[in-house]
Symmetry: D2
Amino acid sequence: MSADPQPPRHIPLPPPRRRLRLGFVGGGKGAFIGQVHAMGARLSNRWEVVAGALSSSPETALRSGRDWLLAQDRIYSDYRTMAETERDRPDGIDAVAIVTPNHLHAPVALAFMRCGIDVICDKPLCNSLQEAAALLAAQRETGLVFGVSYVYASHAMVRQIREMVQDGAVGRIRQIHVEYFQEWALDPASSSEKGGAWRMDPARSGASFTTADIGTHAHHLACFASGLEMQALRADFHVSGAAKPLEDTCFMQTRFEGDVPGTLMVSQAAAGTHCGLRLRIFGDLAGLEWNQETPEHVTLSPAKAPSQRFLRGEDAGIGQAARRVTRMPRGHPEGFADAWATLYTEFAVAVEARRDGRTVPDGLLGLPSLRDGIAGVKFVLAAVESNAAGGTWNDCRR
Amino acid sequence: MSADPQPPRHIPLPPPRRRLRLGFVGGGKGAFIGQVHAMGARLSNRWEVVAGALSSSPETALRSGRDWLLAQDRIYSDYRTMAETERDRPDGIDAVAIVTPNHLHAPVALAFMRCGIDVICDKPLCNSLQEAAALLAAQRETGLVFGVSYVYASHAMVRQIREMVQDGAVGRIRQIHVEYFQEWALDPASSSEKGGAWRMDPARSGASFTTADIGTHAHHLACFASGLEMQALRADFHVSGAAKPLEDTCFMQTRFEGDVPGTLMVSQAAAGTHCGLRLRIFGDLAGLEWNQETPEHVTLSPAKAPSQRFLRGEDAGIGQAARRVTRMPRGHPEGFADAWATLYTEFAVAVEARRDGRTVPDGLLGLPSLRDGIAGVKFVLAAVESNAAGGTWNDCRR
Amino acid sequence: MSADPQPPRHIPLPPPRRRLRLGFVGGGKGAFIGQVHAMGARLSNRWEVVAGALSSSPETALRSGRDWLLAQDRIYSDYRTMAETERDRPDGIDAVAIVTPNHLHAPVALAFMRCGIDVICDKPLCNSLQEAAALLAAQRETGLVFGVSYVYASHAMVRQIREMVQDGAVGRIRQIHVEYFQEWALDPASSSEKGGAWRMDPARSGASFTTADIGTHAHHLACFASGLEMQALRADFHVSGAAKPLEDTCFMQTRFEGDVPGTLMVSQAAAGTHCGLRLRIFGDLAGLEWNQETPEHVTLSPAKAPSQRFLRGEDAGIGQAARRVTRMPRGHPEGFADAWATLYTEFAVAVEARRDGRTVPDGLLGLPSLRDGIAGVKFVLAAVESNAAGGTWNDCRR
Amino acid sequence: MSADPQPPRHIPLPPPRRRLRLGFVGGGKGAFIGQVHAMGARLSNRWEVVAGALSSSPETALRSGRDWLLAQDRIYSDYRTMAETERDRPDGIDAVAIVTPNHLHAPVALAFMRCGIDVICDKPLCNSLQEAAALLAAQRETGLVFGVSYVYASHAMVRQIREMVQDGAVGRIRQIHVEYFQEWALDPASSSEKGGAWRMDPARSGASFTTADIGTHAHHLACFASGLEMQALRADFHVSGAAKPLEDTCFMQTRFEGDVPGTLMVSQAAAGTHCGLRLRIFGDLAGLEWNQETPEHVTLSPAKAPSQRFLRGEDAGIGQAARRVTRMPRGHPEGFADAWATLYTEFAVAVEARRDGRTVPDGLLGLPSLRDGIAGVKFVLAAVESNAAGGTWNDCRR
């Protein structure tokens, strides 16, 4: 998460030479996030989705695989079988996307890494530091690419913020506020829906529901955009919606590198909100604001000049980092699918470079790494402990 | 454009059985719109792009074809050769997307139709009524699918407006206002850029620059959303930006079926605007507003109740027409690529139905038809004549 | 309306020495605009309201006068009596505010001018060129101050626009669009409400309802802000709301000095709108936008830089013209009452100067003059004639 | 702060019978808030400002008094003299407005209360519980009216929120978030400006700068709008702007009656902000949002219906509480001056009722009381202590 000393601004992403082959674990009927990964992969035009263990139920796996237009012999219901079979095929998958419930992320990733297959994994990375350590060890051993889908950082205008901050547009950072409000867990029915059932179940989701589910997004966005590591936090957990065994709401006071204070608020039981992920950074020269629901612009509000609206796709004021990942001309909105396409484009570039034995220039890609995934796990665990201890300040890097 | 007597609201789109094969004419290096068509086709997961005459220059065609990852033997520089070759291949293209300058739309379309290949064509359809008549005749003869890429009508919330209007949400329509403001033709350099050069050249663009280029979008959107045909107009053409042989700005007073008055304003030389396509419909019960740059919501403002914001993806208030084409959950923005994906999804559904000899239920699809394309040509010609005659009221259906 | 060669930017308005005495004609129970004039006068702290013929019905005049806390002997029901009585009192009114239906503006104004009393009159000034000529003659004879309450031009940010335009912020003006949408005349009941009854009655309102009532506001705003005179128009009148003898909706194409084209749209039957007065000016360098319902900021959108939001009360970017009339610090919104307070402040400055025999420096005040009032009358008459003739281009300066 | 069991919804405010006479302590040249109080008093048409000790410097007092058009013999530089002199005049002031630095609020108020003069006092009420107790004792003894200028609660749409919440529009409240961001204390020069010098000086401002200065506004707004008392908080103080002896930034986690959690964030060193006071209430049925910079509407976002925009002045959806204090028709924005006018209107009603020996019906007025002022003092002291103790949860009602 440290600032790039010399980001290679004027280097475009290399063009594709062929479409890489992608497999999925998870994502079967009723799941949302697998579909979205697949859309990003397709829209990137760098991948074709060719195999999947979309469900551990053979029947669901089969039906889902057909919906995805997978060949019959590449529809699996056991991820270990899939890893080994694909490893052995001449046209086996180049990489796997893991979109299962959280508790399966680490075992699935390890199985594919053992077969020499690059991995992109949904967030949060895993539920314990032990799993995190095992993943780190496996990556060190294998040298494989390991991406984590903190997708909001793939919006062009989040790249723009990171570059503007590095270029001094806000001056010295003095406050960082991030919030993410959703409403779906208000409803008692949410805990029996497919996505809700495992997210609210400590056995599968870990010690946290909302802090893990969307708090990690907020944490990564704040760190990525500001270029500052979050060092400490104190957390206040609540159940604001229907009764459930884990928190659906968390308020934090935070500290970033350089003793920069901040706040982080997340709730999945905030009535009338949708995906209200909002970031505000106040520096000594200017403030910056970005909102996921209107991702196409950043507002820069200098202390001594009229506020400015930086629009994706414009010539004026838009830097190389955003240009590199821009897909549509200005005024024609990019959306969530475009951010996923950028994630999968950068994942492809990283995979191709590894296969070619090339190093990707530092700072060329914004693809979140295993390290970023582990930072998120530590963040969740620090919050759980802080809340349990009545709101102590906890280091979130340990 | 007439209202569907019984729109089949609860019928979802049929799932794909295989990816259809798509070829492109036009779209070579430097062109924008071909790329966007291709993104939509890929994101729809209903098509694979397998062939192209991306340019009439063999060298550009080759380079562009490689960038698109086309097989060497399916890269063409002559569209006639492409039509015939693809017709004769066992794995030949199912359909062609035409993204050339306007004056080539008709000859290219006719060439592919003669080979029995379904067509999707960029707008405006063509430059003369003679060409329009030839296309209509060819379609009648062949029974082929012919789509026109008035893509804005593929946004979920434009579908929502059409359904709300049909359901009486605004009452009886009393005024329709549509505007589309861009700024790129302000700049003298615009006339020598790839997209500008032919658009401002009467030999390729026809008798109008802006009325044809974006006026047709505004016209189609107003008619599609309101369910009313535009019957008459009077036009006032201007050059507001750099000098050029055709208008870059046009203001109209309009009349729709039922003597509903309106206005239509388009300019490609309106400084500080991007793709400012905005529709407002005022009825005797409520007003409606939608803006292409923030396409995810519609504002309904009743005369006797607080105004309401209908958000794509919500359960509340969102009808079947929008649901049928919704790709992302609420709060995760759909953008321009998603509208294109819907256009290509519906085109695929129409092509599959034709091949199967099935009829698509009336109103199931919002895919703009050849008829809609011809209505746009008549609209442009009526405007050109009205302006030339000093602003006479002209029928725009002849 | 001509541009000030050297606007005296750094001269503040002179402070008050005493509160001037103001009388009202019109404004009795149920009337809205009289109350608003009085609020502006009070908030300006330059006036005290001491006399009134608030109604021609003695009983209503009395009740209304008491509500206004007027002294018993200064409550009148006949404006002529009021003019003469006040002229003869040692503490007689310094000025009169005329807030009657339109057809009475001219006779009332003439009565007070004959008594040497300065006048501020609501818009539209009057219903005929004959009346306009009589008022002009009376002013030339008497040298009295005559203000017209085109109040929107008194918003600080409208002053800012005028100054920015003069300073070249938008470059050469290429298009001017103004619209004003209200909804109240949709409702059949509106024609029997106090304000509706006379506005929709040709005998009192003249040959136009909406073009006169709010079209004149839009016309003045466009001219004042741009610094350009409107020279010609063609008009299309409609009844969009409940049946009525005069138009409630008018669409225009317009021409300003220097052959600058534009549009003007007004409706009082546009469902879901409130006081949607919006101005857009497009120049060859930038566009500008202002909206009466959010009057505190102006958006400047340069063709070659991010768009900027100029906020009233800021140091950065705000010129002397806006500062001179700013009442509240930034972030604490000024509203409609503040615009009226500025109108009445400037009226007071003009009245004091006349009494002292001083000349107000050109451009110090933005107070709309009798000339501006007459321009509005000509605008209405040109529109009525254009519409009647089927939309001919008519000169609106004759 | 408890909810009114039966708010008298359909009772309008009584009309004025005469203008009451108001005096000021504080507000001399360079001060902002005194001017604003005076504007509100004038705009209310219930008061005339007739006397003042606008400064303790005789020269400044004199100059300021003349600017305010005060009579020479009612310009004072000593507030005690003013209290006694005015008490003894037959036309003495009915009430005093106290707009001095915080440490003088209590002594000045006590001086006037001892002379039987009703008081309206700026916030925060005072710097210590001792002072608060003395004021309470004095009020109990004298029965005088004592208002505190938490003016944001006088916006019509804040009244609307309170009524909507009472009526169940959001269901059971589950979260309350309030923030107030300004930027002026970023700048080192701020500490030597008139308003900054005393606010950042512990001797005059007390143990807190920002929590006292604008945190009290946020606290009162959250409690007033929700109808819930804040019971506990933990606070994190920072200096985010130029170095200063007191905090300019404070982040809190809060608890309201019924164990409702919330957050409160205030900063006067948040670059690019102006008066960013924003309230969000999430209930189990809907969320509500209001923003001081756009005070004319409230957004209600139900969990199960499209979000709605309630606009001041509309018939639809607007309750009696807002109607009672509405001054302008919809679409013509009320601003900060209007909120002050409402504050002074309600103060006048309270003063007249006391003088007449009448009781004002419970809930008729929203005028903040001495009790509300004392709650603010306790809130500040609890925050100061919590921060000093490293963020302990402190009761803020003691």
